[in-house]
């Protein structure tokens, strides 16, 4: 279904009147450029209005609670709330407070469902299916909501996932995850169908989780040399923003196997599909959590 929305983005006038008169509110209690712009672009391509809220310039700094903020935005006539917050479970809580549709645009270290959808769509666009693929997710898995959502989405669609990270950057309770774990990247490179590099959050060094950026890069950075050892049909993904020279080198990001910019383009199409399913399709969906979100894309 996302294909139909991707086509709209290629039209001379990339806009359809599907959600005319509807309002999409973006409530970003945590900073973001691309996710917010992606959702707002998606809303505008469907002719919906957007109301933006950002924590730094709002009454939140005057001590207003999230619940009050949600109620105020809802009474401005929003039809769907796109919520990002640094605390896990915020979108879920918001959905309990309101009858409006709520889309989780990232909650702390928990989940980032629309990112997982666009990652799956990007891989499927290039390779037809994820079934049987071997995908490595490399880097700071412990603090990554992208990794959590992607593990769920990739394995649901039949891929085999291997997490590659130093032990300090893996979450403590990983036994229940449907994944295998490796601490070295080099031996795996040759038989990967795709490699997913997570952003290394630089503040992690100050927590002492890695010795230094250089040492991390030496073991885990996707350099030109490493990308050359990957299969010719392998894919390189990254959720952005990239730290060049830390988790990926400039050469690897520019390699023909890199689909990082495709991910950005597809993000808009996937979010159009999510917004349309919630507001325009006549289907009744509640909060779009990762599990449902994968269903949505099928």
């Amino acid at each position: 279904m996302t294909d139909a929305f991707a086509e709209i983005g290629r039209r001379p006038i990339p806009r359809v009147p599907a959600l005319r008169g509807r309002t999409v509110a973006t409530l970003f209690f945590e900073n973001s450029t691309r996710t917010r712009m992606s959702f707002e672009t998606a809303a505008r391509r469907l002719s919906a209005d957007t109301v933006a809220f950002s924590a730094s310039t709002s009454s939140l700094s005057k001590g207003e609670s999230i619940r009050d903020t949600v109620e105020v935005v809802a009474s401005y006539g929003a039809d769907v709330l796109v919520v990002r917050h640094a605390m896990a479970g915020t979108a879920h809580r918001v959905a309990e407070w309101t009858d409006l549709s709520v889309v989780n645009a990232g909650d702390g270290c928990h989940e980032h469902p629309t990112q997982a959808l666009l990652d799956c769509y990007t891989v499927r666009e290039r390779r037809g299916s994820l079934d049987g693929m071997r995908i490595a997710i490399v880097g700071d898995v412990s603090h990554s909501r992208v990794a959590r959502s992607d593990v769920l989405a990739f394995t649901t669609l039949g891929a085999e996932v291997v997490l590659v990270a130093p032990a300090t950057l893996l979450p403590p309770a990983i036994e229940g995850w449907p994944v295998t774990v490796a601490h070295e990247l080099d031996p795996l490179l040759g038989d990967l169908d795709a490699i997913y590099l997570l952003r290394l959050q630089r503040e992690r060094i100050t927590e002492g989780l890695i010795p230094s950026l250089r040492e991390y890069a030496a073991d885990f950075c996707l350099t030109a040399g490493r990308v050359a050892r990957m299969r010719s049909d392998a894919l390189v993904l990254h959720p952005g923003p990239t730290n060049r020279g830390v988790e990926i080198s400039a050469e690897a990001a520019a390699d023909h196997r890199s689909v990082i910019l495709d991910q950005v383009v597809n993000g808009v199409s996937v979010r159009m599909a999510v917004l349309f399913l919630l507001l325009g399709s006549g289907r009744q969906l509640g909060a779009v959590e990762a599990g449902d979100a994968v269903e949505v894309d099928r």
């Binding site: 279904m1 294909d3 139909a4 929305f5 086509e7 709209i8 039209r11 001379p12 006038i13 806009r15 359809v16 009147p17 599907a18 959600l19 469907l46 349309f276 399913l277 507001l279 325009g280 399709s281 006549g282 289907r283």
Partner: protein, 188 residues
Amino acid sequence: MAERERRQTPPFGGVFVSHARIMTTDDMGRAVRRMAHEVIERNHGLDDLVVVGLQTGGVPIAERLAETLADIEGLHPLVGTLDVALHRDDIGLRPVVPEAVTDLTADLDGRVVVLVDDVLFTGRTIRAALDALCDFGRPRSIQLAVMIDRGHRELPIRPDYVGKNLPTRRDEVVDVHSAGVDLGVMQK
């Protein structure tokens, strides 16, 4: 009638029961051939012509029309497809989901567009299609070809080329498929 409308259009949701075969495959072939001649006559040839089939029911008919035009004139017109789900005026009133991808690569500026659908009923699909086409350029003219005109228009829209005029009751259903055209009803 497109499969998705068969499933989703209230109050028709259910199983289609045919009462009468209105056209056979041969009848449809003859109707397409006549319409092709009318298209050529009216436009003095096929210059600048684009045949656009509406997803999903109009697409096979548009392809047959384009092939027939090519047989007659020796020149294959450009063919495209259009899904109007996101331009409909009943979004939110009934389940509307785009199921097919629009494929309209031709620049429509200054061209003659022949829109093709299987059944013309209320005219609302065509209204949505006219709206959608405007986003692809400014055609010199837009003409409408339909296999079946069953009446009951709700908008001021009329076809330029008609396979067959078929008087119907509002609750009847016209089913255009590869083996012909059936008139019947939906049974729950």
